[in-house]
């Protein structure tokens, strides 16, 4: 078998971060090649380079495709050469029909007038190829996610595809839709289409892939081939195995009584009312304890936290939340805050901060009553409060009158923490508290978390970074597809065990 694609020594840096460091990827003609790695390992960045999102000049290294050196200018350029990527978030227009979507930007037309007859006929042929039984005129918005995925593949096939890239194609699919999609990939392989699949699910990697490249922290760790036989254990080890010394502050904790007690928590999707997002979850957190929730993106961690925090996500929410043994009303955000729960959101720029406003403005936002009397804000008191938290959390700025948009990621995160600490919570739920901030700032955030636990607060920490959970938590719940699939004590937890719980099907 000849080599279709070779990416050599690809290095890509973003300001302050080296996302890819001499990555090598070799894909043989006619095979299905899996690229696996943790969230943030650099898989998506690599695929963005391959599909022209980052054009030549924005990265180092070279790409040889079909015997030629590639210098891609943009996405269009890569598509013209037959490299087609299907993203996790589908790029379809729901208001348009299947046929219109398939030929969007590539319309069957003469003199700019669309030939509908030809469009629909070609669409039927493509739909037959991917095994989708729908009329070409059906609106894409009216079919399910699984079928939409097939439309995306049909769209790719309409463009004379040589290399098909699927970015976590089954992440949003149900079991049997996933299986269908994987079978389609095998069928396309039989027809001579080469594919790259990016996936976390090792079961499906084993099912379809001929070879596997493991990426970790922006470098290629290993390349395994189906012929020589690969075990899931090997892949898991390669995915997570990294040095863990001294990245977390040394700390001893002595948890007290159960503080937060959530039982039989069920949540349904706010729009697709039949989809259950959180399935009967129960968990506890003790005073002075840091509890982790591990799981991949999309496993429902954020949805769990947000539904507990004032029903900010989901419909038909049921279950009970107790604090110190007493049931509390968490049906709205202000009630949850009053009860003593704080939720430090995942994406601080979207959910956490009013970016155009100052540190002072943001610090007091969740507890304006704490700096006002009779509805009038006491500016000087507010300034002192903001100053106090700025000093306590070591936010590095000249004053509390800086707009938060100008702060670094780590400092922004500290301001969000300050906002929640000023509500004087008993329970803090931290969602990806260190995402996108540098190692030094992470260490400081870990220290803050430890101090909070020492003050007798219960900390629930959601993170995609397993080392962080292992380094910080007393106990870790493992979550997958809306359920808790395991619970590990700090002593018995390691990355292999967590990953094994997640990938088991």
């Amino acid at each position: 078998m000849s080599t279709l694609l070779e990416m050599r020594d690809i290095t890509k840096t973003f300001p302050g971060v080296r996302a890819l460091d001499n990555v090598n990827l070799e894909v043989a003609e006619g095979e299905i090649h899996a690229v696996v790695g943790e969230n943030g390992a650099g898989k998506s960045t690599l695929m963005k380079i391959l599909s022209g999102v980052y054009p030549k000049g924005q990265y180092e290294g070279e790409i040889i495709f079909d015997g030629q050196r590639l210098n891609l200018r943009d996405i269009r350029d890569s598509e013209d050469r037959g490299i087609i990527i299907i993203h996790q978030e589908l790029a379809l227009v729901p208001q348009l029909s299947i046929a219109e979507n398939i030929f969007l930007g590539n319309e069957r037309s003469k003199n700019s007038v669309i030939n509908w007859h030809e469009t629909n006929r070609a669409t039927e042929a493509l739909l037959a190829k991917v095994g989708l039984v729908e009329a070409p005129t059906t609106k894409v918005g009216s079919i399910g996610v699984g079928k939409q995925q097939l439309v995306e593949i049909a769209k790719a096939l309409s463009k004379d595809v040589k290399l098909l890239i699927l970015d976590e194609p089954t992440a949003a699919l149900q079991e049997n839709d996933s299986r269908k999609l994987l079978d389609l990939m095998l069928e396309l392989k039989a027809q001579g289409v080469t594919s790259i699949i990016i996936s976390h699910k090792l079961g499906e990697v084993r099912y379809v892939a001929d070879s596997v490249t493991v990426i970790r922290d922006g470098s290629t760790v290993s390349k395994l081939s189906a012929k020589s036989g690969f075990k899931e254990d090997d892949i898991v080890r390669d995915m997570v195995g990294r040095d863990m010394t001294h990245r977390f502050p040394e700390h001893k904790r002595t948890p007290g009584d159960v503080l937060l007690d959530v039982s039989n928590w069920n949540v349904w999707h706010p729009e697709h009312i039949e989809r259950q997002i959180i399935k009967n979850i129960s968990f506890q957190a003790r005073a002075g304890e840091v509890v982790g929730i591990a799981g991949l993106m999309g496993s429902g961690r954020t949805e769990l936290a947000m539904s507990i925090f004032g029903q900010s996500y989901g419909k038909r929410i049921s279950g009970e939340v107790k604090l110190n043994g007493n049931p509390v009303n968490v049906s709205s955000v202000d009630r949850a805050i009053d009860a003593g729960i704080s939720y430090v959101t995942e994406d601080r720029k979207v959910y956490g901060l009013v970016l155009d406003e100052t540190i002072r403005f943001n610090t007091t936002l969740a507890n304006l009553d704490g700096v006002s009397s009779a509805g009038v804000i006491k500016r000087n008191m507010e300034t002192s409060v903001a100053e106090r938290y700025r000093n306590a959390l070591a936010v590095r700025t000249p004053s509390v009158f800086q707009k938060t948009v100008n702060l670094s990621g780590g400092n922004q995160q500290k301001v969000v923490l300050a906002k929640w600490l000023f509500t004087e919570p008993d329970v803090l739920i931290l969602d990806e508290p260190t995402r996108g901030i540098d190692v030094g700032a992470k260490y400081e955030i870990y220290n803050i978390i430890n101090e909070l636990a020492d003050l007798g607060k219960a900390v629930v920490m959601i993170s995609s970074e397993m080392p962080e959970l292992l380094g910080m938590c007393d106990r870790i719940y493992v979550m997958n597809e809306g359920e808790f699939v395991g619970e590990l004590d700090a002593a018995e937890a390691n990355q292999e065990r967590i990953m094994a719980l997640i990938v088991q099907e």
């Binding site: 955000v333 006002s372 500016r379």
Partner: protein
């Protein structure tokens, strides 16, 4: 960061002061630019109209003419800061004027009762529109566009296509009355002889001086507190120059008013409302929450702010103020016409945007909106005195609006 350090130094080392003042000015160009633009425009028209613009009677007129726009701009500022827009205010204003006319002129209703009913109806209209925007997530553009048509139609229906008037004297004085001079006549005459003018209304004259003193005192107090708390403050020179200009302008305007008929009732209403709304937006919890809502709705919601209720209240308040403006307008014209308030919403919205508010919400001040309204008012007035046709007036106003917003966007891009 470097900026603020040089600024701190500047208070002790005059050597670097000029540079840091330049920095400060360019960093706050928008704020000062607006005030400067108003002054430039006034000076320009003062010259080209041979001094007509700032004659006592014209200054009085200028205030009366723009009072209803300013009253509505206060509410519009809040709606826009909250991230919405209200296109219905012109129609609602006209409708309330019509309602007042029908109740007072046709049915001889007591004017206080009628006034209360008008204000309540305005609030109710605002609430009805706010309900769809806040609780049904219908875009405010659509809801208030519908409201604009509905209330335009209702005015026609109510007035049966006719103008209704005149209003009784007690109602007219809302808009055309003046605060009487309760000081002994001799003081006014004495002042008049000192300044060598025909007459002086002592109340207006002294109010101007009192307001200027109050303004300076409050400015100094705030500045002192800010310095004590280490707040980045504007350089001393700029503070004193700015405060001096504003105080002088205040005294000047009042002095002009005192030479005509004194303080218009409308100015008192308007001034009172502007101070209240300025205070609410800047210093209260609810004001703060509106800025948070407009700045980042998701973050506001997740901080425990009841964003829907706030949106609802913003529109209710807008309806209330549109009703107040409607009564002022009707009283001023002394009649309610089906055309009243036609396209006025655009002047109100333009004033708010010229005053520095952002289309995407979260940014804008009451002071800015008021200055923006005056800027438009002076343009209107000055061009009318010059005899420039309505055609050119419209074009010039349009270009001023565009220029103001382009300036904002340019500044923001430069910042980033």
């Amino acid at each position: 960061m470097v900026d603020s350090e040089t600024q701190e130094l500047s208070s002790t080392k005059p050597a670097v002061q000029t540079k840091s003042i330049g920095h400060y000015l360019s960093a706050n160009l928008r704020q000062y630019g607006l005030l400067l633009a108003l002054i430039v425009v006034m000076v320009f028209f003062q010259i080209v109209t041979d001094g007509t613009l700032l004659r006592a009677v014209n200054v009085t007129n200028l205030l009366l003419q723009n009072s209803y726009i300013i009253i509505m701009a206060l509410g519009m500022l809040i709606v826009i800061v909250a991230g919405h827009i209200d296109l219905s205010v012109g129609s609602v204003m006209g409708f309330i004027g019509a309602l007042a006319a029908v109740m007072i002129v046709n049915f001889d209703m007591n004017i206080y009762l009628a006034g209360a009913i008008c204000l309540a109806t305005g609030a109710l209209i605002g609430a009805a529109q706010g309900y769809w925007v806040a609780y049904w997530n219908i875009p405010s553009f659509i809801v208030t566009l519908a409201g604009m048509l509905v209330f335009r139609g209702l005015s026609l229906l109510l007035l049966e296509g006719q103008s209704v008037g005149p209003f009784p004297r007690e109602f007219q004085i809302i808009a055309t009355g003046f605060l009487g001079d309760f000081f002994p006549k001799t003081i006014g005459e004495g002042l008049a002889s000192i300044f060598a003018v025909r007459q002086i209304n002592t109340v207006a004259f002294l109010s101007g001086i009192a307001a200027a003193i109050l303004l300076v005192w409050m400015g100094m107090r705030k500045r002192a507190a800010n310095i004590a708390y280490g707040v980045e403050e504007e350089p001393a020179v700029i503070f004193y120059v700015r405060t001096f200009i504003v105080a002088a302008a205040l005294i000047f305007v009042m002095y002009k008013l005192s030479q005509f008929r004194g303080l218009p009732n409308v100015l008192l209403t308007m001034g009172f409302l502007a101070v209240i709304y300025g205070f609410v937006t800047e210093n209260t919890v609810i004001g703060r929450r509106i800025y948070a809502l407009g700045g980042n709705q998701k973050a506001a919601q997740l901080s425990g702010i009841k964003t829907k209720r706030l949106t609802f209240l913003a529109f209710t308040n807008m309806g209330f103020l549109a009703a107040a403006a409607g009564m002022v307008f009707a009283a001023r014209l002394n009649t309610a016409t089906p055309k009243a308030g036609f396209a006025l919403e655009l002047d109100v919205i333009a004033a708010v945007f010229i005053g520095g508010a952002s289309m995407s919400g979260g940014v804008g001040t009451i002071v800015g909106a008021v200055i923006g309204a005056f800027l438009m008012g002076v343009l209107n007035n000055g061009m009318s005195i010059m005899g420039i046709g309505i055609d050119y007036q419209q074009m010039i106003k349009g270009l001023v609006l565009l220029a103001a917003v382009v300036f904002d966007v340019y500044n923001k891009n430069k910042e980033a």
